[in-house]
């Protein structure tokens, strides 16, 4: 099933930027600012694409049917269809799968995070929810129930394969890599926001940084 892919045009002789968004809820909180950033990249002459990972955003695939490895394969397939050099830019959990584009000119990462931290926060959301409804639950019991079927964590149904994949995943060593934190671009950790927000200044600063990093990588 073909997934949606948001594209903004740019100059054809420049590398294209493949955007790997954060995973799960953090993706929703960042999407608006990421799209603002793509628009700025386009104005600077750099094209970009933001594919939906299967089971995320507009995808019709059930999240419980996918694993981290499926996402890596999906990214590699998107990159393979581009007939020009690619710079991969990832945010947060996106850094767990961005090395799937093995022939990229370079990588750019914003505040990468370990998969185990993502799982921990999701399991805690479930525990906090259960407590509010007067039910006691624990991380071990929740994890154990994944053996019998997908587990609902913070509104996402995750398979045992996805949980195991996330638990073991850390951002891979890639080269050349430019890695930033929000303060480097005068921004804040928008992906933590309880209510999605936007930061146009941060979007412009990220676009300028990615644009110049793409040029540096292309000249290597």
């Amino acid at each position: 099933m073909a997934e949606h892919c948001l594209r903004f045009p740019g100059s054809n002789d420049q590398p294209a930027v493949l955007i790997v968004p954060p995973l799960f809820d953090e993706a929703n909180r960042m999407r608006r600012t990421l799209v603002l950033m793509m628009r700025t990249l386009s104005a600077l002459g750099t094209s970009s694409l933001l594919p939906d990972l299967p089971g995320q955003n507009d995808s019709l695939v059930d999240t419980e049917a996918v694993s981290l490895n499926d996402w890596r394969c999906a990214l590699a397939a998107v990159a393979a269809q581009e007939n020009r050099p690619i710079l991969v830019a990832s945010w947060r959990g996106g850094a767990l799968i961005d090395d799937a584009v093995s022939n990229a000119l370079g990588w750019w990462r914003m505040a990468p995070i370990a998969g185990a931290t993502i799982v921990k926060a999701m399991i805690r959301t479930r525990i906090a929810c259960d407590k509010e409804s007067g039910r006691q639950s624990g991380a071990e019991a929740i994890r154990a129930s994944a053996a019998e079927g997908p587990v609902e964590l913070a509104g996402n149904f995750l398979s045992a394969a996805m949980l195991d994949g996330l638990d073991a995943a850390t951002p891979s060593l890639v080269e050349p890599l430019r890695q930033l934190s929000p303060s480097d671009v005068g921004g804040s950790a928008l992906w933590l926001r309880a209510e999605p927000s936007e930061d146009a200044t941060m979007a412009e600063a990220m676009a300028a940084d990615i644009h110049s990093w793409a040029a540096i990588c292309a000249a290597r």
Binding site: R124, T125, L192
Partner: protein, 89 residues
């Protein structure tokens, strides 16, 4: 308040700014008795989980899942006391 406790309190304030999307000046006005959970609609279960996980990272502390309790978030003072107890002991 010791320097260490003041640093922990500043970290808790900064984390609340990031998660709740409130202004730094509003967070600066939080005091011991400022109510959090129940008073701030943004502070739902997911925000509570995000806050605890982020505090672990920023303060280098470990929080047990058994400790996840809305009482921790009743007031700003209660949350700071919890974080200081973890970070400085």
């Amino acid at each position: 308040m010791s320097d260490g406790a003041a640093m922990v309190e500043a970290t808790v304030r900064a984390t609340l700014v990031d998660i709740l999307g409130i202004s730094a000046s509003r967070a600066a006005a939080f005091d011991e008795t400022t109510p959090l959970f129940g008073a701030l609609p943004e502070l739902d279960s997911m925000a509570v989980a995000t806050l605890l996980t982020e505090l672990e990272d920023r303060l280098g502390i470990a929080i047990d899942d058994d400790e996840i309790d809305v009482d921790l978030f009743e007031t700003f003072g209660a949350l700071v006391r919890f974080a200081v107890g973890k970070a400085l002991n």
